[in-house]
């Protein structure tokens, strides 16, 4: 118990706390606390305050002293006549203990003693910024339009994507649960495919489909002739949303819809399948027309599912980093801002500020989702009779056509990625080649990164399943120490609300701190595993708790009365009965570890590059075809593991059929 609480504290609570305090760390030059003296061969002159000196020279603006932790100011700037060959002597000191001080002879000096230096030594003196705690970072964030417009952008994108995804997923779920069309199983499986690929791959697919060298255009030219298509294409290109516009909000929305579709679908299918047939019979008996039944029975029944799906999608989109990075172009969103601040500008404090800003909508969406889901459970009644759809030719055909369209689009995006990965140089050389699979000559870590990813996913599945299941067992079956268990439950729910980028950044602050005894995990496979387990903790935890809740609460008591050790009931009964849930958790962790980018992008080292990050980096370097190839490798791996899981589950079900069914 203690170990797992400790784990969640170290892997979640402490890093977030450190990040929060980082966002309030400000750096500014405090020239007013630096004093200088010069000896030009006539003894020491008067003591000069650096601030007064700088203002006099017009090189220091007292209103613009803010800088980053890496800001440096050369001391020689205060002496326009400075020459390192002159025999002049310089003295420098702080007037206040503990201020930022300056670098002298390569070492920081923060005391108030005078340093006496020759001009050769003085040449290298750099004044350092002083650290303070305050809201300065937030003020500068909100006074930089380039930064805070991202808030608006992120919210817009998330809201539009949410509306589109939930609408599409509701229709699809409606077709799957309320029609008698054929191939429902296949449609459901295809709809789940986007879970198996990194979100970036959707962006890459869209670029190929609708980008500057659009595959759609090429196919159209091939089909109708270049002359016929060209005027149409030009018209589109000159319109408001021409093909180049795929880089930007349109592309982000389409790709976001693609990768969030299955998440929304699962929730809405669940909501629709708990419908009570008696309600429909009652409505028909009262002669309600069909649209009215839909409005008064179907929608209210699925209401909580729809709201929950909406918030889940909103959260996924607003925290996603892969899609806007690949297809966002110049359109800034919060998640990418964090990446740019940290990786591009090394401005960690500002990265922390953006993280905190991103945390707010994510936390709100998370809270609403939790409240709604609690209500959904209360709706379930044991007396409900499940709804059975009746065949209706026109309706079934319409639904079938719609599902075909969606399934075709999902598979199309993947097929395009695979096609692009296999040809030499789109669109000029269409001959097939495996050249794009020669990852070792590209940025991103080569085939090693693929091996690393599998290794990381494997460890995550093993370690994560163990941690999650044991933790859930303690919460569910533990006795006494109630406040501790409530606290643990809260910690276990938190990761869902924490965007991956934020978690990754918090890990840098926490684990990379030189005084942290856990510093040694930084840059290893270990930190990637810890981070991924934590990132995907919540859903796994809920799965485990649900499975444990279905078990008789008196099993432990019986076992104790029979004087058997606690380990025996755990190994002989609890684990076997929960095995399907345990397998579900491990596969969930594996698949997500393979596709995740956001949390680990800050944490990998040259030895632990990952396939999903390689997709990002290759795309960044312009190697889009190899990026697609790597993305597809992830897809095949995940699909393979999923099939293995399905086989295992089926075998297990057959073996345990005797005791599961009455």
């Amino acid at each position: 118990m203690l170990v797992i609480v400790l784990y969640l504290l170290i892997a979640l609570a402490f890093p977030l706390y450190v990040m929060l305090s980082k966002s309030f760390e400000t750096y500014a030059f405090r020239f007013d606390t630096v004093e200088l003296q010069v000896d030009r061969g006539e003894g020491w002159g008067e003591t000069l305050n650096a601030m007064a000196l700088g203002e006099g020279l017009g090189i220091v603006d007292p209103g613009a002293l803010v800088t980053t932790s890496d800001g440096r100011f050369p001391a020689t700037s205060f002496f326009p006549d400075f020459s390192f060959r002159a025999k002049t002597l310089y003295r420098i000191r702080n007037t206040k203990e503990g201020s930022g001080g300056f670098l002298v002879k390569g070492r920081p000096a923060t005391g108030t003693d005078w340093f006496e230096l020759t001009s050769g030594e003085f040449r290298r003196v750099q004044i350092r910024p002083s650290q303070a705690t305050g809201t300065g970072n937030y003020l500068s964030y909100f006074s930089t339009p380039a930064l805070f417009t991202s808030i608006y952008n992120s919210l817009m994108i998330a809201m539009i994507s949410t509306i589109v995804t939930v609408t599409l997923a509701f229709l699809y779920a409606y077709a799957l649960t309320r029609s008698c069309m054929r191939f429902k199983g296949a449609f459901k499986m295809i709809a789940m495919v986007p879970i198996l690929v990194p979100s970036l791959l959707a962006g890459i697919g869209l670029i190929y489909l609708f980008g500057k060298q659009s595959l759609v255009l090429k196919v159209a030219e091939w089909a109708f002739g270049e002359e016929t298509v060209a005027p149409w294409w030009d018209m589109l290109a000159n319109g408001a949303y021409g093909p180049s516009e795929i880089y930007g909000p349109t592309g982000i929305v389409i790709a976001s819809v693609f990768f969030t579709f299955p998440h929304a679908l699962i929730i809405i299918i669940t909501a629709l399948s708990i419908a009570d047939a008696r309600l429909y019979e009652a409505a028909i008996a009262l002669r309600a027309p069909k649209p009215r039944i839909f409005r008064t029975v179907t929608i209210p029944g699925a209401r909580y599912g729809l709201i929950s799906a909406a918030f889940v999608v909103f959260n996924l989109v607003i925290t996603d980093f892969g899609v806007p990075k690949v297809i966002g172009g110049q359109f800034n969103v919060l998640a990418v801002d964090i990446y740019k601040q940290v990786i591009g500008q090394q401005n960690f404090q500002m990265g922390a500020v953006v993280s905190v800003v991103l945390l707010i909508p994510a936390l709100i969406a998370f809270t609403v989702d939790r409240i709604v889901q609690k209500k959904q459970v209360a709706l379930l009644s044991a007396r409900a009779v499940p709804y059975e759809p009746k065949p209706s030719r026109r309706f079934d055909r319409t639904m079938f056509a719609y599902c075909c369209f969606v399934a075709f689009f999902i598979l199309g995006v993947l097929a395009v990625c695979q096609y692009a990965a296999l040809i030499k140089f789109w669109p000029y050389n269409l001959s097939l080649s495996l050249g794009n699979y020669n990852f070792d000559v590209m940025d991103g870590g080569g085939w090693d990164s693929y091996a690393n990813s599998i290794q990381m996913a494997f460890y995550t599945a093993i370690v994560g399943t163990f941690m999650v299941f044991t933790g859930a067992y303690m919460v569910e079956k533990g006795k006494g120490f109630n406040s501790g268990r409530t606290g643990f439950q809260f910690l276990a729910m938190m990761p869902m609300a924490i965007p991956g980028m934020v978690l990754g950044l918090a890990y840098i602050f926490f684990f990379n701190h030189p005084n942290n005894p856990l510093n040694f995990v930084y840059g290893t496979m270990g930190i990637l595993v810890i981070c991924t387990v934590t990132h995907f903790y919540t859903v796994s935890h809920l799965t485990a708790v649900t499975a444990l809740k279905q078990m008789d609460p008196e099993f432990e008591a019986v076992s104790q009365s029979l004087k058997q050790p606690f380990t025996k009931i755990f190994a002989r009964v609890t684990v076997p009965v929960c095995l399907p849930a345990i397998l579900d958790i491990s596969i969930y962790l594996f698949v997500n570890a393979m596709t995740t980018v956001s949390a680990v992008v800050f944490l990998y080292s040259p030895d632990t590059t990952l396939a999903s990050v390689a997709v990002l980096n290759m795309d960044d370097a312009g190697d889009i075809a190899p990026a697609a190839a790597m993305g597809m490798m992830i897809f095949y791996t995940n699909a393979g593991v999923r099939l293995l899981h399905a086989g295992l589950t089926r075998g297990l079900h057959r073996r345990t059929q005797a005791w599961r069914t009455r």
Binding site: E554, Q560, S561, L562, Q564, V573, A658, W659
Partner: protein, 371 residues
């Protein structure tokens, strides 16, 4: 009491002794200073409405919910602070808690493993137990393939497999159909008698308690209301709560009007007044089946003139509402046998003289009991 089914109590050894047991859940007191002795080989029922603390008491004896204060002593040994695994008992829950993924045989053998018994010994013991509970051929099935009654017997077999000194039953029959329940009552009781194992059963079903127990512990609001044989509990309920909870009881408000006399609205009755002072407000209680209807002479002691109100047909008898000026607003329910009604030609609205036998009347101080 000589009526006790298991013989006199005085010459028997105390097996389980509970002293001043108190259990609190936060601010709520589930058990208040409960003291109780259970004799060796006895079948004791904890009876009471839900929330009365009976299950809490059982779980304290088992060590599943350790008491806040007080002592539990089993076979002369203080076990107050021991965890369940170091106590000596077998337990059956309402849900049976059979391990769904283990066969019947392995469920029963569960407690026999790790006890230095050989495989053959374990197998022999399991066969013996399956025979004992009357399910000799069901060993290879899984719990989900058995009926509720069969699962119940397997749970019982598992609980007694290790031959514990104490058997605890937590509402073991309440999840079963009415018919199976009645049948199993006898089986469980019979098994307990044959094994001679000290048994404590928790139930909220008075019929179950009356038919199965040697002694009943009636509980309410975390305290023991009465301990006694089924007959004592039924005939001589110690408190108005027990009188009301067990069986059917008429309650009529009255006042003590002299030594061994009590006055109702318009009639004086002779009864044991337990030394209550004159003028004390009391509740007079009498069971419907104790009201005598046949051959009552007017003017006889404790005779009441009444009129028959509504008559409710209950199969083997009628339960009739009696209205009388002597009773004021209160009504008496009396059981009239089918024969009596037929032979006397009794109809609703007829006048009737009834007798409230002096030795069947109980009085309780206070007047706040539902009539």
């Amino acid at each position: 009491m000589s009526e006790s089914g298991a013989g006199g109590e005085t010459d028997r050894t105390v097996y389980l002794r509970i002293e001043d047991l108190t259990k609190k859940f936060g601010g709520f007191t589930a058990l208040k200073d409960v003291t109780l002795e259970i004799y060796e080989g006895e079948f004791v029922c904890f009876l009471g409405p839900s929330g009365c603390g009976k299950t809490t008491l059982l779980r304290a004896i088992a060590g599943l919910d350790i008491q806040t204060r007080g002592r539990v002593e089993q076979a002369g040994k203080d076990i107050s602070a021991l965890p369940p695994s170091e106590r000596d008992f077998g337990i059956v829950f309402q849900s049976y808690a059979l391990f769904p993924n283990l066969t019947v045989t392995r469920n029963i053998a569960y407690g026999l493993e790790n006890r230095k018994a050989s495989r053959a010994e374990i197998a022999a013991r399991v066969t013996e137990l399956l025979d004992l509970v009357g399910l000799p051929d069901q060993g290879d099935k899984y719990p989900a393939q058995l009926s509720g009654g069969q699962q119940q017997r397997i749970a019982l077999a598992r609980a007694i497999a290790t031959s514990p000194g104490l058997l605890l039953l937590d509402e073991p029959l309440s999840a079963l159909d009415a018919k199976v329940r009645v049948h199993l009552r006898h089986e469980v009781k019979d098994l307990q008698r044959r094994l001679g194992i000290t048994t404590v059963m928790v139930t909220h079903d008075q019929e179950e308690a009356l038919t199965m127990a040697d002694r009943i512990v009636v509980m309410n609001h975390g305290v023991i209301e009465q301990i006694g044989t089924p007959l004592e509990i039924y005939r001589l309920p110690a408190t108005s709560f027990v009188a009301d909870f067990i069986g059917t009881m008429n309650f009529v408000p009255g006042t003590v009007s002299g030594p061994d006399r009590v006055r109702l609205a318009g009639v004086d009755l002779a009864c044991e007044s337990d030394g209550l002072a004159e003028g004390t407000a009391v509740t007079v209680a009498v069971r419907p089946e104790d009201i005598v209807v046949q051959s009552v002479q007017g003017g006889e002691e404790n005779a009441v003139e009444a009129r028959i109100g509504e008559m409710e047909f209950l199969g083997s008898f009628y339960r009739a509402d009696l209205v009388s000026e002597g009773l004021g607003e209160a009504r008496l329910r009396a059981d009239l046998s089918i024969n009596l009604v037929r032979s006397q030609g009794i109809n609703e609205g007829d006048p009737l003289s009834v007798l409230l036998p002096r030795e069947r009347i109980r009085i309780y101080p206070g007047s706040a009991v539902r009539g």
